[in-house]
């Protein structure tokens, strides 16, 4: 449920960043706020996953799953920092790339999690 919402949020934010890029605008301050909000949702999702892991749920490929969790945490903050330093349309494009990568990572996490109790 949470993961589906996260995929939707990341896709929406990525699409918004892409539109900004196509319009030729540089990243603005509100991108920091939006990225921070999205990152909070990612952190909540990761904490939920860790709690469930500690509680005893185990996906088949535990190592890969944990690796993806770490990547998921890093993507949006790193992408935002890298995007803000670029004062052109390529800044928001970087954010769109980070969001797309986050969508892929969350979908993979979902796939891996589907092996729990399976």
């Amino acid at each position: 449920m949470l993961a589906t919402g996260l995929i939707f949020l990341a896709a929406a934010y990525g699409a918004f960043a892409l539109v900004t890029a196509v319009l030729g605008r540089a990243p603005r301050e509100y991108f920091v706020i939006a990225s921070a909000l999205l990152s909070i949702v990612v952190v909540v999702q990761v904490v939920v996953a860790i709690v469930m892991l500690v509680a005893g749920d185990r996906p088949d490929e535990l190592g890969t799953f944990v690796g993806y969790l770490v990547v998921a945490l890093v993507l949006v903050p790193a992408g935002t920092l890298w995007a803000l330093a670029e004062r052109s349309r390529w800044g928001p494009t970087v954010l769109a790339v980070a969001c797309l990568a986050l969508v892929v990572v969350v979908i993979r996490l979902n796939d891996l999690w589907s092996t729990v109790n399976g």
Binding site: G63, T64, G67, A83, E86, W90, G91, T93
Partner: protein
């Protein structure tokens, strides 16, 4: 046209995509080698090699000094050769690759981005170098 940094404009996006691949390839290779190296040692060593090449290319493009430009050019070239050789081998001789690497099937598992990325990297390095020999550009002939 003067030389321009490799880490601004479209180059900034390129560095971001390279960083994503460097991160995910390293994580994947690390997990493969740590948990089941014996199953497919060749594939996992190749995964680690690919990860290393992505890291070098990312740093080379992001630093944008004359030296890092050369390093990035070499990394992108190795990457292109790697994806073509491993891609071809994995298609004609699948038994050699019991487990997939980033470059198997020319990067099919990653939307063929591993195949496109080194080409974009080399084009960008060439374009940002700003030599007078641009593609299709008129060069005075004697």
């Amino acid at each position: 046209m003067a030389e321009r940094p490799t880490n601004t404009g479209p180059g900034r996006v390129l560095v971001a995509v390279y960083a994503v691949f460097a991160l995910s390839a390293s994580a994947r290779a690390g997990v493969q080698i740590a948990t089941h190296f014996d199953e497919a040692p060749v594939a996992y060593v190749l995964s680690a090699l690919a990860a290393a090449v992505y890291i070098v290319a990312t740093v080379g493009l992001a630093r944008s000094t004359p030296a890092s430009r050369r390093v990035a050019t070499i990394a992108c070239t190795v990457e292109l050769i790697g994806v073509l050789v491993v891609g071809t081998l994995s298609v004609v001789w699948p038994d050699a690759f019991p487990d997939a690497t980033v470059w198997s099937g020319y990067g099919r598992g990653y939307g063929f981005v591993p195949l496109v990325l080194p080409v974009l990297g080399l084009l960008w390095l060439r374009r940002s170098a700003g030599t007078r020999q641009r593609w299709g550009g008129q060069r005075e002939r004697a």
